[in-house]
Symmetry: C2
Amino acid sequence: MHANVMERPGQPPRRISRPVRFGEVTIGGGAPIVVQSMCSSDTRDAPATGAQIAALAEAGCEVVRVAVPNREAAAALPEIVRGSPLPVVADIHFDHRLALLALQAGVHGLRLNPGNIRDPTKVREVVRGAAAHGVPIRIGVNAGSLPPVEVPEGRLPPTVEELRATLPERLVEAALGHVRILEGLDFHDTIISLKAFDVPLTIAANRLLAAQVPYPLHVGITEAGLPWAGTIRSAVGIGILLFEGLGDTVRVSLTGDPVEEVRVAYEILRALDLRRRGPTMISCPTCGRTEVDLVRLARQVEEHLRGIEDPITVAVMGCVVNGPGEAREADYGIAGGKGKGAVFRHGEVVATVPEEELVEALMAEIERGLAFKRLR
Amino acid sequence: MHANVMERPGQPPRRISRPVRFGEVTIGGGAPIVVQSMCSSDTRDAPATGAQIAALAEAGCEVVRVAVPNREAAAALPEIVRGSPLPVVADIHFDHRLALLALQAGVHGLRLNPGNIRDPTKVREVVRGAAAHGVPIRIGVNAGSLPPVEVPEGRLPPTVEELRATLPERLVEAALGHVRILEGLDFHDTIISLKAFDVPLTIAANRLLAAQVPYPLHVGITEAGLPWAGTIRSAVGIGILLFEGLGDTVRVSLTGDPVEEVRVAYEILRALDLRRRGPTMISCPTCGRTEVDLVRLARQVEEHLRGIEDPITVAVMGCVVNGPGEAREADYGIAGGKGKGAVFRHGEVVATVPEEELVEALMAEIERGLAFKRLR
């Protein structure tokens, strides 16, 4: 595994859900929070989809979803599944035949809402197929695709405010409708997602749902936008849910390259010390006290750290007097000054060098430290 | 005001603090959450600092802080304060004379820890000066600058784990030490910040503090890093605090241009519907179903929306069938398809146009809508 779970006193307790498995990857039951994404490639193009899955896996993605909107896409699934280093989840909207084809192709999960298939015979066929293949089903309800509220005859339709106020309950109710269909067929390998663009709504709905079912939760914010704004909205929404202990697998949705979704997901998990991939960098904002080009220095260090997979913490501080002390939680660090700089480890200065040798001296110190650790 | 407070049912209640004022800007007491930043310019260079303050104000910054590390910086303050459209807070570390010079220069706030000045006569002089000028004092304690734990003779020093477990309490205790000095001098125009790079620690400390004092809280995550990672860490940490109702003013700390700090702060506030500046954009992630270049389309719309200050919501969806319905919460939207696209308002399709005219048709619809709204 690339990533490790951090044990951390004081972290709020996680909700322990009934675990399910996409292939070798466990979701829920106290397993590390799983990072997933979705291909933006045309599923019919198996080589392009395979290349995107490889890039996602390289970035740390652990489960990948592909859209299966038609038979041509379903026909490409065997090749995609065969070549994929990750479990593949087939995303299906209404057509139960596509679900059956996906199961035959060996996918590791289905994303479908059984209520959308309608015909009970067809639903039974799909659910029995999933059970036979040991394949979990993810139910997903988004605020935008809720069914309309039924208004009894002679009654006034609800106002916009009333509709808005009942949204969390209606999201949960829609998900529970699908859950009941699965439970009625004695199927329990279920994951549920409730998503909206609206962060407080997403949180309210997930809290309600978590109290009512034992299943793992897939969390995310839908249609969050282009990478910059979408990253912030996702970090706020997913961050709050995870901090409350809710969420067994995470998908960040961005209008852009799905590889960026994976990078953002890990950074959210890192911010809460839930998982880590590679080095963590601390760097202070520049201020009127800074006598070194801190932004350039921080970027250089970031660049140099790219090859390292160990979960070390590295600080880049603007001030030799306060820097090493303020960053004493860091494993390694540098602090710039007037032409000179200090390299430190756990707050202790280990070397003072000219500013232009600072990054090099830091990297040498890190490599010494990591080599020593590997020897032990 | 550029920004407006959103009233929103279901939003968790905010902690109501004792309000203080930096110039015309109220912090706490139920006022809108104030966005602030800090100049990275050399304070001694008044024109450069003035230019940076103007750029920050343009981005929506409402209070600006400048470092005052020496007499030359203090000497530049009168010119900076005179030219600033924003209240100016002087950041002072130890030297009480710099605080007195800043007060004479007409600054609207001080950031200093009275305990760091040590000599009670000097502390009294500064605090009386602040009171006479009607200037609040922000106390700030960071995890990195905590005083060492005193070990009684004959006792073993605490282990690293013990030190870590008591960090939230020690941060609060350090802040309360400074608070007691101010209260002892009958000074109550106080704002407090407790910050760390560590998000769960920052949250734990702020929760503890909020229960013990009536003062407004300045919230942020220190040394969060370069813009990409720092933005995510800040969004998670500040987002959780604000969602819990904690925080009267926000500073995002990034190693980079402070204007970016302001943009990120507003995006965090927007994600929680606490404040809004300009349009909000919803856009779906591309998937194997998308038949339009959604990323390009979304970027074009983002570009075109830049001139608009109204807090409208605009959706850019990949699919004509589901898009308008899924984004019915949006005021305006477009959905792409095979060469053609739809313009919609509140989920109703109002026009179908060739794909290359989609953005233009959307902007025309928005301008019509806004013009109509202004007429009323």
